[in-house]
């Protein structure tokens, strides 16, 4: 029984991994850019929600919409102004660029708010706990899980059932082939980058009521998210989400039974996956870039 609940804990923390990995994955697929600033945008999402509450008194529910939209637009501007200029060069250039952006964003927040965490209350509607049949669970965390599942399914539907989605998916998984079919992949690059950033911001807003909100909150997370994306399969949208929940459960159970190794477990899994299935659990072999 306790184990079931621990696995559910894992699904909740996996929700954050899934949302972040999803964004990172579409950005990587579409642009071939490893976005090192992803954790910083997660942090900006949470801090943004706090700033809006603190200055405008904006509710968490509204922030859940406003913050991702603003960050998405900001992301698109970044892509147009900087990332696009380096896309044709060695991927290392964009790696360094996004790493630099991450440091700048963190320091800007630190300059204004220091390193201390900022208080953020839980939305009243989601206070308390509810019964899940087998056990009681905090309402807020149930909401986070359901919300991330619904969002992932929605993204999945858009990607599989709409023309735009098909282009993005084709461009994500087989960019050269898509281009050779006469489809203007370039046109979709900026919106997809913005969308990935918006997802990171959304995860941040979701984190604000249950985690410490401070300038450093995304720093360590981004490493785990990279591992998640690699485990799921680079460029595989479904794989990233599935690996997100999987890694969440793995660390929850790991923390319970082998606390000393819980942080390395995800990287052990990554190493194993790379050895046995270099394209990731859900990636296709021929999709491996050289």
């Amino acid at each position: 029984m306790e184990l079931v609940q621990q696995l559910f804990n894992g699904l909740v923390s996996g929700s954050f991994y899934a949302l972040l990995a999803l964004g990172l994955s579409v950005i990587f697929g579409m642009l071939g850019v490893v976005n090192f600033a992803h954790g910083a945008f997660y942090m900006l999402g949470a801090v943004g929600a706090f700033v809006l509450l603190d200055t405008l008194g904006m509710s968490w529910w509204l922030a859940l919409i406003v913050v991702p939209v603003v960050l998405g637009v900001f992301g698109m501007a970044l892509e147009r102004l900087f990332v696009a200029r380096l896309v044709r060069l060695d991927p290392l250039y964009n790696f360094l660029l996004t790493f630099g952006i991450a440091l700048i964003l963190q320091d800007v927040v630190r300059l204004r708010y220091g390193v201390a965490s900022q208080p953020y209350p839980r939305p009243a509607l989601l206070d308390g706990s509810m019964s899940l049949g087998l056990f009681d669970y905090p309402k807020y965390q149930v909401f986070v899980f359901v919300f991330s599942i619904v969002l992932s399914v929605l993204v999945w539907l858009v990607l599989t059932r709409t023309r735009v989605g098909m282009i993005v998916r084709a461009a994500t998984e087989r960019p050269e082939l898509t281009r050779s079919l006469g489809i203007d992949v370039r046109r979709w690059v900026t919106p997809v980058f913005g969308f990935g950033i918006a997802l990171a911001g959304l995860a941040g807003v979701l984190a604000a009521p249950m985690r410490a909100v401070n300038s450093g909150m995304g720093g360590d997370l981004v490493i785990v998210i990279f591992a998640v994306v690699v485990i799921g399969g680079l460029g595989s949208v479904f794989g990233s989400v599935a690996a997100g929940y999987l890694v969440g459960m793995l660390s929850a159970v790991g923390t319970l039974y082998v606390p000393a190794f819980s942080q390395s477990l995800v990287f052990v899994l990554m190493a194993l996956v790379l050895l046995l299935r270099p394209a990731g659990l859900f990636g296709r072999e021929e999709g491996v870039r050289t």
């Binding site: 306790e2 609940q5 621990q6 804990n9 909740v12 923390s13 630190r110 220091g114 390193v115 201390a116 965490s117 900022q118 208080p119 209350p121 839980r122 308390g128 706990s129 009681d136 905090p138 807020y140 965390q141 984190a207 009521p209 249950m210 985690r211 410490a212 401070n214 450093g216 909150m217 360590d220 997370l221 660390s251 929850a252 923390t255 319970l256 606390p259 000393a260 819980s262 942080q263």
Partner: protein, 415 residues
């Protein structure tokens, strides 16, 4: 070209030396080394402890220097008192280098603050080797006055024994016999776990389970699920986390409704800055132990008001301790008439005093623990908070004689 630059540099250097010899103000008797008393502050200027210590710890030392100059305007042993600073980024190797540079190159006479236990111990080693004074305020490890003590290191503000003895003992005596402890898996957390377990067991309680947690960590759901399911069920969850991790623990403790499930919360170490981060409402009623809090009485408030004028914020106990330690150090230099470390040490050892921070205080000669009253406090109800940082309410004063580990138990050998 290069030669010309070199000779120009030489001229400037010689000029500077001449100016230094002739132009500097003369001090009484010339007993002060380098013609100035130099205080160095090694602290965390950008990391997790930069709010509770950081630039305001430096400011507190500067404030002590200004006040000393004012009160000894006529008879100061030296009018030249300088304060220098270094950021150790909570890393022992950087702290080590910074301390060496201060003592060797800059002629610093005493180092202050140094949060982070591993960094604090690194500086203690350097102080011992250089035979220069060091007052630690920011770190918690009892090792500073235990196996790794030395004649030049004083531990001034608090330590893990004090925290455990206050919170662990009292909460157990109040009836919470079964404990579940979670601690971050590094030097500070392990030391806290040891001190708390000892205090709880001495008071007749029992630590059923103690779990190390990853550091840093944003997800404590595993432990919140485990706590009420443990057998026997714990009465209280003792969290030894600090900074952002502590915020995560408290948020998730509340979310999982552990209080309603009969598992109370006790916090190992908490600063006013932490309470502000978490929100008073989330913590109301939580017990913890502190070396000092700014509105505990008129004397403290008076100082805290002056501190706020200077820095714009209320002081943590680390800030107050830095002011107090710097003041005690300067007074000892004044009494000794010299900044020679051994002369000042003689003045300090066994010295008894009482100031706004350290009450009924004594520089214990045996292990260099500075003993003073400590306070078991609880977080106020949100409705009782009258102003910013007005978070704490006194539960019980722990007299200086009981608050700290006995010198005979310290395992310290000054040699």
């Amino acid at each position: 070209m290069a030669t010309r630059l070199k000779s120009a540099a030489a001229v400037v250097a010689v000029g500077a030396v001449l100016a230094g010899c002739g132009g500097g103000p003369q001090s009484g008797g010339g007993k002060v080394s380098g013609d100035a008393i130099k205080l160095g502050v090694i602290t965390d200027l950008s990391g997790v402890y930069s709010e509770l210590a950081g630039k305001n710890a430096i400011e507190a030392v500067k404030m002590a220097v200004d006040d000393f100059k004012k009160s000894h305007a006529d008879d100061a042993v030296s009018k030249n008192i300088e304060v220098s600073q270094a950021d150790h980024q909570n890393k022992p190797e950087i702290a080590n280098t910074a301390a060496r540079e201060m003592y060797d190159r800059d002629g610093v006479d005493a180092i202050f603050d140094v949060p982070t236990s591993s960094a604090a111990l690194a500086v203690a080693t350097v102080a011992g080797q250089n035979k220069k004074l060091y007052f630690n305020n920011g770190a918690a490890t009892t090792e500073l006055t235990g196996a790794q003590c030395n004649p030049y290191t004083y531990h001034y503000a608090y330590d893990t024994y004090m925290l455990a003895h206050g919170t662990g003992t009292t909460v157990t005596e109040q009836g919470a016999k079964q404990w579940y402890i979670i601690y971050p898996d590094y030097a500070f957390g392990q030391d806290m776990n040891k001190s708390f377990t000892a205090a709880i067991e001495a008071a007749g309680g029992k630590v059923g389970t103690a779990d190390p947690t990853p550091f840093p960590n944003d997800n404590f759901a595993t432990f919140m699920t485990k706590a009420p399911n443990l057998s026997p069920k714990p009465d209280v969850l003792g969290t030894m986390q600090a900074g952002g991790d502590l915020v995560n623990v408290v948020k998730q403790y509340n979310e999982f409704g552990l209080k309603a499930k009969g598992v109370d919360l006790a916090v190992g170490l908490m600063f006013d800055t932490d309470i502000k981060s978490i929100g008073v409402g989330q913590l109301a009623g939580t017990l913890y132990t502190t070396a000092w809090f700014w509105n505990m009485d008129a004397k403290s408030r008076e100082w805290a008001d002056r501190f706020k004028e200077r820095t714009g914020t209320r002081p943590t106990f680390d800030h107050a301790a830095n002011y107090s330690a710097a003041t005690q150090y300067l007074e000892a230099v004044q009494r000794a008439g010299s900044d020679d470390a051994d002369a000042v040490r003689k003045e300090l050892d066994g010295h008894e005093f009482d100031d706004f921070f350290a009450r009924d205080a004594k520089f214990r000669a045996e292990d260099h623990r500075v003993t003073h009253d400590s306070y078991l406090v609880k977080v106020k109800d949100e409705s009782k908070v009258k102003e910013d940082f007005d978070f704490t309410e006194l539960v019980k004063k722990i007299p200086a004689a009981e608050a700290f580990r006995k010198a005979s138990d310290s395992g310290c050998d000054m040699g």
